[in-house]
Amino acid sequence: MSRPDAPFRLTRRRALQAGAAGAGALLAGCAPGATAREARQADASPGDDRPNILLIISDQLGLDAIGAHGCPDVATPHLDRLIRGGTTFMESHSASPVCSPARSSIMTGFMPVETGVVSNGRPIHEKRKNLGQHFRPHGYETVYCGKWHLPGGYQAAIDGFDVLPAGKGQGDLNDTAVSNACAAWIKQRPKEKPFLMVASFMQPHDICYWGNARANRMPPDLGLPFEALRGRLPALPPNHTSRPPEPKILASHFVGDYSEDMWRYYLWLYARMIEMLDADVGRVLDTLEAAGQADRTVVILTSDHGDGRGRHLHVSKWYPYDEAMKVPMILACPGRIKAGQADRAHLVTGLDVMATACDYAGIKPPAGSGGRSLRPLAEGRDVPWRDFVVSEWQGAGRMVRTARYKYARYPGDPVEMLFDMQEDPWETKNLYQEAALADVLARHRTMMDDYLAGLDVVDPTASNERPARPAAPKKKRT
C-alpha cells in the first residue's frame, strides 16, 4: 500500500492512466497454454480473440458467507471452485449497501450520487453508460438476464443489452430460469463476436423477507419451526449482541425480538439460500467449461451488498458494518488470471467492475470513473493502489475504509463511527470519541470530504419506490 491515506483524487488520475495503458496491452501476458487454446478460440470467434466477459451478480451475499472464504455453515462447491481457480479479493467493499445504488455503481463504474441512483428503484442517469451501452459499440454481444432494479426489479428491455426474460417471483422461481437461460444461450449463441453476459441472481436476497416482521415469516414466538434442525444450526456470531454507540437512524434498525433459536434458524436459512445460488452459479460455470469457453471467458462474481446475519442484532443491510458492506469480488479465467490467490492487501469496490471488464476487452473505461482495473492484481502484478474506498447509502450515510480503520457518519447526527478493523474486526468498539485517535478521525473526515468534493454529482433520478422508512425501535425481549 503506497502513500497511506493520500487523497483519493490523485489515485483516480492514476487509475485513468492505468486503464488506458491496460487497453493497449490487451491480453499481454497470456499464460503458457495460450497456443493450445488458439484453435478453439479461432473456431469459437473467428477474427476476434478478445475474451468474453461473464459478470455474475448475486444479491445480499456477504463476503465471508462462502465456504472457501471460511464460512463453516454452508456448502458452496461451485463458488469454491471459482475462488480456487481464480483470484478473490478479501477487502472488497460495496459502493453502497443498498440494492439499486450498488448495482448502479457495478454497472457504470461511478458512485451512486454520480449515477443518480441514491436509493432503490431509480434508473441510471442518462449521463452514465452501463456496461452494455459501453461494450456494444465495441463489437461485443451484450446480454442481460436476471435482476436489474434500475429501476425495475426485472425489465423486459435494458439499454445496451439484449434481455433474456426473467423475473416475477423470488428465489428459485427466478434463479433457476436465469441459470438455464444463460447456460442455453452460452451454448447456442452465434459465435462471431465475444460476449458480455450479466447473469444476475436473486439469492440469497430472499432472507430479506424473513427479517421483515410484517411478512409473517418469522412471527413472534416462532421458536425453531423444524425440530429436526435442533443441534444442526449455525452458532451466533461473536458480536451478536454488540451495540456500540451508533447514529440514531442506525440504532433504529436492530432486531431485538428474536429468540436464540430464531436467530440461528435465520442463519441456517441464509446458508441454504446461498447454496441455492451456488447451484445456479455451478450450472453456468459447467456450461462455460462444456462449451470450451472457460479459458476465453473472464468471470467476475460480486454482490450488491451483504446481510446483517445477526451481527449487531441486525438483519438486512443499509448500514456500514462489514456484514452489509463486504461483498465477494472474484475474478477467474484459466491461463489469464492467477489461480488460488486471495488478495488481502488491496481495497477494492464495485466501481472496479467496469474498469476491469474494459481492461480485459481492450476498451477505454468511462472518463472520470473512480473504478480501477483489478486485472494487474488478478494477474499477480504489483501496481500502485488506492488508499481507501468509499461507500454511501440512504442518500446520507457515508463510509471511508482505509487499510486499518473504518469511518462512517450520517449528516446532522453527532454520533460518528470509527472502528479499528485490525484490533476489532467484529466492530464492537466505536472509537470516535477516543482522544488518542483524534488525529485518525480528523484524517478520515478529510479523506471523505475531499473525496465527496471530487465527485461529479448528478441530480437523483426519479424513484418508482416509496422511500424506505426504518422500523420503529424495538426493545430486546427479556
Binding site: G167, D172, A184, Q188, N216, R217, P219, P225
Partner: protein, 269 residues
Amino acid sequence: MEADPNAAVASYPLVSLLPVLRTFEPPAGAFNPAGPWRQTWGVYTFAGRTAVTGRVGRLTLQRQVNGAAARLEVTYSKELTGGREEVTGTLEGPADAPLATPDRWTFRIRLLDAQGNPVPHTDITRKAVRDGGQITISDPSETRRLAVPGPYTVNWCLFDAVQRLPGEDTKPLAFTLIDHADQVKPETTLAFRKAMDVQVAGGKTVRTRAYEQLGRGNVPWVYWTDEAGRLLWVVAGLEGYALEAAGESAAKHAPAPYGSSQNRDKAGG
C-alpha cells in the same frame, strides 16, 4: 391465522398461503394416489408486506401407471417479465418407489417472449439416465456424469411421492435431491411433520398431513396432503403451490412396462 400469532406459529409456514386458503375449495371424492391421476397447482410467490404477492404460474403433473412402471409428465409454466418460461418433462421409474425415484427423465426448457415467440438460443433439452450409482445427464453439446450413491429423486417427483406416504407412520427418508432435474443436493430428508386441521373457503375444515423436506441447497419444503393423499399445498420459502384441479389421468399414453426395451429407447436415447 393472520390475526392470531399463535395460529400463525401453529400453521407455519402455511400462513404464507393464507389469502389462497380463504378461497380454497377442497377436492371431493375418492382418490387413489397409487393409480393414474392428473393434478394442477397454481404457483405463487411471496414477498414484502403481504403474504402472497401473486400467482405466477401453473404446474401440472400427470401420473400414469402400467404394471410396475410409472411415468410422471410435468408441464410447468411461469410468468416472467417480458415473457414466460415453459418446462415440459417426462420421468420414468418403478411405480412403487417410495420417493418416486425415476431411472430416466427428459426435460425441455424454453423461454418465450411476451408475444409467445421463442427467445433465440434459449431452448434446451436435457436427458438423464441412471446407471448404477451414477446419473448421466446430456444435451446435444454436453454429457455430465453425476455420482449419486444411495437413494435419490428429482424435485417434481416429491409432489408425487408424498401422496402415497402413510402419514405419521412415515419413516424419515434420506436421499440426494436432483433439483430442477440436474442440480445435485445431498443430505436431504423427507419426514412426517404433523397432522393438522386447516380452515378453507366457507369456514370448512380440511384434515391434512404435513411432510417436511430439509436438506442442503434448499430452504425447507412443506407438503400438505388431505387424508386421501391428494397434495393440496406446498410452501418452500417464498414459493408456494395450491391445488387447482385434480382428477384421474386420461392415461392415453400409458408407458410400456417398466424396464422394457421400448421404454428405455424412448426416454433414454
